[in-house]
Symmetry: C2
Subunit: 178 residues, 2 copies
């Protein structure tokens, strides 16, 4: 097969028949690129009060710390996706508890579903996408080396509902809180 990828399409914005907004349509082959936001699923997973973090082995933000998270795949639930990402990035098994937060990064079309979870056992191991993994007490968290604002928000919001069983999911904090 050829070497062409998505970027070899020659896209032009136009409104497809029966639609009401502009889509990227390839002038060469007619392919319509229905671009929709993607769902990122992740987990704040704990073992005896310590939080699982992974140091990223890939860009963006290689070398910085994150909670396990990644794109939701077809045919899995959001909780299953969060467990899969935790397995892939940290070699850890989790039991998902509840939905901690729904964050939205609309500029890049990403919607985050972050769950609270318990590690089934304290066995963790860096996966291919991680340089190292660790279990951190609150005052050990590498606050200056977190990969993304959503990681900071997740950790803070997780802290806010320690000991709380039922709560509405958190959303993006206001500007002042970032």
């Amino acid at each position: 097969m050829g070497e062409r990828d998505e970027h070899d399409h020659s896209f032009r914005l136009q409104v497809p028949e029966g639609d009401n907004r502009e889509r990227r349509v390839c002038e060469a082959c007619g392919f319509i690129d229905y671009e929709n936001p993607k769902v990122v699923v992740g987990a704040v997973a704990t073992w005896e009060g310590r939080i699982l973090l992974c140091r990223r082995a890939i860009e963006p933000r290689r070398g910085y710390w994150t909670i396990p998270a990644g794109f939701l795949e077809m045919h899995e639930s959001a909780a299953e996706g969060a467990a899969r990402e935790t397995r892939e990035e940290a070699g850890a098994e989790i039991e998902v508890r509840d939905l901690l937060a729904l964050y939205e990064v609309t500029g890049i079309g990403q919607l985050y579903l972050i769950f609270r979870a318990r590690l089934c056992r304290p066995t963790i191991e860096a996966g291919e996408e991680s340089l190292e993994v660790g279990l951190f007490r609150w005052d050990e968290i590498p606050w200056q080396e977190l990969a993304f604002p959503t990681v900071l928000w997740s950790l803070r919001h997780h802290r806010e509902v320690e000991g709380v069983d039922r709560f509405p999911p958190f959303t993006n904090p206001g500007k002042l809180e970032r």
Copy 2:
């Protein structure tokens, strides 16, 4: 431009370099079809206790009743998307209150975010995708003519939290409750 659309690609399953799962890759042009679940946003919107429903003018389930809902678009928040769909399908302005439910239909890769909302005024009008729209009291809802299980779930769950201010979002009911 040509008449070809997505279905004219000649897709074969293979694992792209640096990936860990099979994707549909076009043998003709190399295009990688990263297929991810799509987010559907919708609203249970009320005016003086009556619920806004739309009778679908389009397939699937033409002629059946639904709450306003549709695919989340790029660069809008989920709440904005729910308000847009309500505007498009029912000519109505809403104020989104909170997240009622997160439903997942993993078989077709759809994740639903359904909000509670208040109509800003009782002005409603069928949009292009609706045959008619109406405001229904609980005992007037056309239960036998609802378009999708998620509509039934949304209405029932909405009823469960009447008068309740803070609650975790509902998820898919168990098999027995469907």
